[in-house]
Amino acid sequence: MLDVLATEQEITVPMEASMTELVDVRTPNPKNFFPGEDHEWELVIGLEVHAQVTSNAKLFSGASTAFGSEQNSNVSLVDAAMPGMLPVINEVCVRQAVKTGLGMNAVINKRSVFDRKNYFYPDLPQGYQISQLYHPIVGEGTITVQVGPDKAGKFETVEIGVERLHLEQDAGKSMHDQHPTMSFVDLNRSGVALMEIVSKPDIRSIDEAKAYVTKLRSILRYLGTCDGNMDQGSMRADVNVSVRKPGDDFGTRCEIKNVNSIRFMGQAIEYEAKRQIDILEDGGSIDQETRLFDPVKVETRSMRSKEEAHDYRYFPDPDLLPLEFDDAFIEEIRAELPELPDQKRTRFMEEGLSEYDASILVSDKSYADYFEQVAEGRDSKTTANWVINDLLGALNKASKDLDNSPVSPTQLGGIIDLIKADTISGKIAKDLFEIVWNEGGDPAKIVEDRGMAQVTDTGAIEAAIDEIIAANPDKVAEVREKPKMIGWFVGQVMAATGGKANPKAVNELLQKKIAE
């Protein structure tokens, strides 16, 4: 008996997602501090992002992964855990995980192992989830995050460590609102491949957390390994939050489960930080626990304490061989890697964009794609201004995605071409943009049909100038005193020509005539 007890003492307990020692790699930055009653606090945040792998079939079965299908229509015998059914790995999902790992500059493990995570729940037909605890497919990596911009338009570059990425099965969905006394289960998601991407506890503010998830989503979308649609459940995060006096050791963390939007994540962290600070400032201590975020009440609530935590009894899945591949397999996938946000951002800056413009444009793959289509053969800076200030501004005001933009890249390019050719002024271009936004159509044709082209006929401009000079001799005298006052004349001429006069021509002629 004694012998057995002695053995038990030596055993190390396998801990989920915290198998390596936590190291603090960040220097406390007052910019990130969180206010408290007595002193400021520092947040320590780690994220476990569950990203649905973009694949036609599930991780271990041939069933479809299509979103929005009829309930229980995408369910194979394996997904329903029929007796004697066996999982077979979907190679597409493996490639996607490796690609994602490469996109995070992470270590790719040529040998990984699937483990079973055992627990009972009606939407988990097997009674276990196939996951990778001990030997994940992807090891440590880094995600470089641009936090900001601040008021000066500057970004802070922060490196957030990635602990690991592993493949696992999603569960089905329990529905408790379909029947007065029964719950229903939809197994369409059961067995869908997820990548769980675990960050190191390197995040120190809500802005950093948001920037990290945004950047990660962007990388996944660039890679085409996850669609990143949080509203459809393709991406969700478990958020680990603790607080401490700046520079202290890590505090006790709470894990907030299943946060499904970046905005909710910000709210959840803020609520949780305040809650923990209140407890600590009242002389209390934090209980390690799992909490749920309620987006309606904007609060987190205790789900289960550490004592109530499940013992998942992980062990290697004997139905599956270890997942092994060679360097050639990795290199083949590396060769398929597209240009990633960081590389694109650097290139854009080399091509003349400001850090601000480049950062905004690469933050979303659709922005960059749109920009590059318009910028093809056009001035980058002008294009960036139009895409960021006019188009994204208008989309934002109208709460629309770029994918649903009323103005196509061809149309916006057409508007920019008309400015370049001096056919319209910048001011008229804004009106033209609005017409295209509201009514559609070819910008050049609209300008022609509606007589929006600017007047470059110097005769007509000269006539207008002569008339205004003659009528305002006092103003002419003033301009001769203060040359800046010429703007008044420009305004008058533009008004007289219905805004269509070429501002450059107006200026030149005015300078000449007033000097005479």
Binding site: E8, Y128, D311
Partner: protein, 492 residues
Amino acid sequence: MTDLTSLTISQAREKLRAKEITSTELTGAYLEAANAANNTLNAYVTMTDELALEQAKTSDAKLAQGEGGDLEGIPLGIKDLFATKSVHTQACSHILDGFEPRYESTVTQNLFDDGAVMIGKLNMDEFAMGSSNETSYYGAVTNPWLGKDGTKLVPGGSSGGSASAVAAQLCAGATATDTGGSIRQPAAFTGTVGIKPTYGRCSRWGTVAFASSLDQAGPIARDVRDAAIMLKSMASPDAKDTTCADLPVPDYEASIGKSVKGMKIGIPKEYRLDGMPPEIEQLWQKGVEMMKDAGAEIVDISLPHTKYALPAYYIVAPAEASSNLARYDGVKYGLRVDGNTIDEMYENTRAAGFGEEVKRRIMIGTYVLSAGFYDAYYIRAQKVRTLIKQDFENVFAQGIDTILTPATPSAAFAIGDKEMAADPVKMYLNDVFTVTVNMAGLPGISVPAGLSNDGLPLGLQLIGKPFEEGTLFQAGAIIEQAAGTFTPKKWW
């Protein structure tokens, strides 16, 4: 006319092909025998008369054209662990009440593709957990061999229904599965031949899982040739089972009759147990003589980690089982016993649905995988497993072709044996000679080699190199030739 049910598969095959008999006649004879015997022996849990006669008719049509597969028209019994489409598939557990799959296991599909006829589903220990076929929800199976003074004996387990049905001639051959000895031990107890092939030789797809890293399907048959014929049909590569070997299946029958002259046969000293009955020791010695007489070279070998195999097995197998059986939760299929909450429903269903032995193993498995115990039990057991495997690799590397051991430490025992009922470990000791083979993933065959002092059959085991089942049939046929075959006197 000869009694149709006394024909072996190879004999029946000849007569069917020669159109001396029809599959309909043969199938009818087996159905009659099986139905008549079932009240006494309880070997079948369901009979599929209608399906069998239909299959027989189809086979007869093919045979009439001179066509048909290797098992065309041969009536087989199928262990209840194999999923058979639209037919009772319940692993002899209450928890799978009413379960009839919409799919066919790869093994049974292979047999049907070769023309086999299924006459019914065979009794077994619940979820293949047991060594006496007494844990079945459908009641114990009786061994057609009677004990002293007519005592009713167990046929062994877990494939007790398969062994009893084959020995009593209630089917021409039967499918079985072996996780720790569940083919070889019942074969030894009933005077039949049973082979557990190399892990990965038969697909596990559609076979209800007990312990995934150990489970293997194989046949129980009346003689070595029949076992070879059946295994050839059951085995196949299968993309649906990633642990299944992607290797062609050889013609095992061709190995039978080959000389064993010069073959090196290892005799492991660790299989000589303290307190082993002298008749087992004598049987083993007899086997050595048979092989020597046939020209084989006998070599004393050592498999030093043998004694750790059984304890390690009883960690690995229950651990995997505790997880494999989690899917029987009352939610999707089979038994459901309602409760006020989901947890209560789980508890009520699983408490009512699983028998004592299954519950015991689920609890052992859950315990050994628990945080704080995992390293001490499961990881250590896996290390032991590696050592056992290395033991075998070492002796094979020394040039040993096959290893000869007893199949079981005793002959069949009485149904309801009080000592075993009181102490599960005594029951587990039945597997002491067989589990090592599962732990190492090797093929092993049990061949009847003689009778005990009480007139009960005893088996010898031959263990082979991975995927060299042919060697086992070759050497097994030598034992069979020397010892003869053993048929119980009909009393049922």
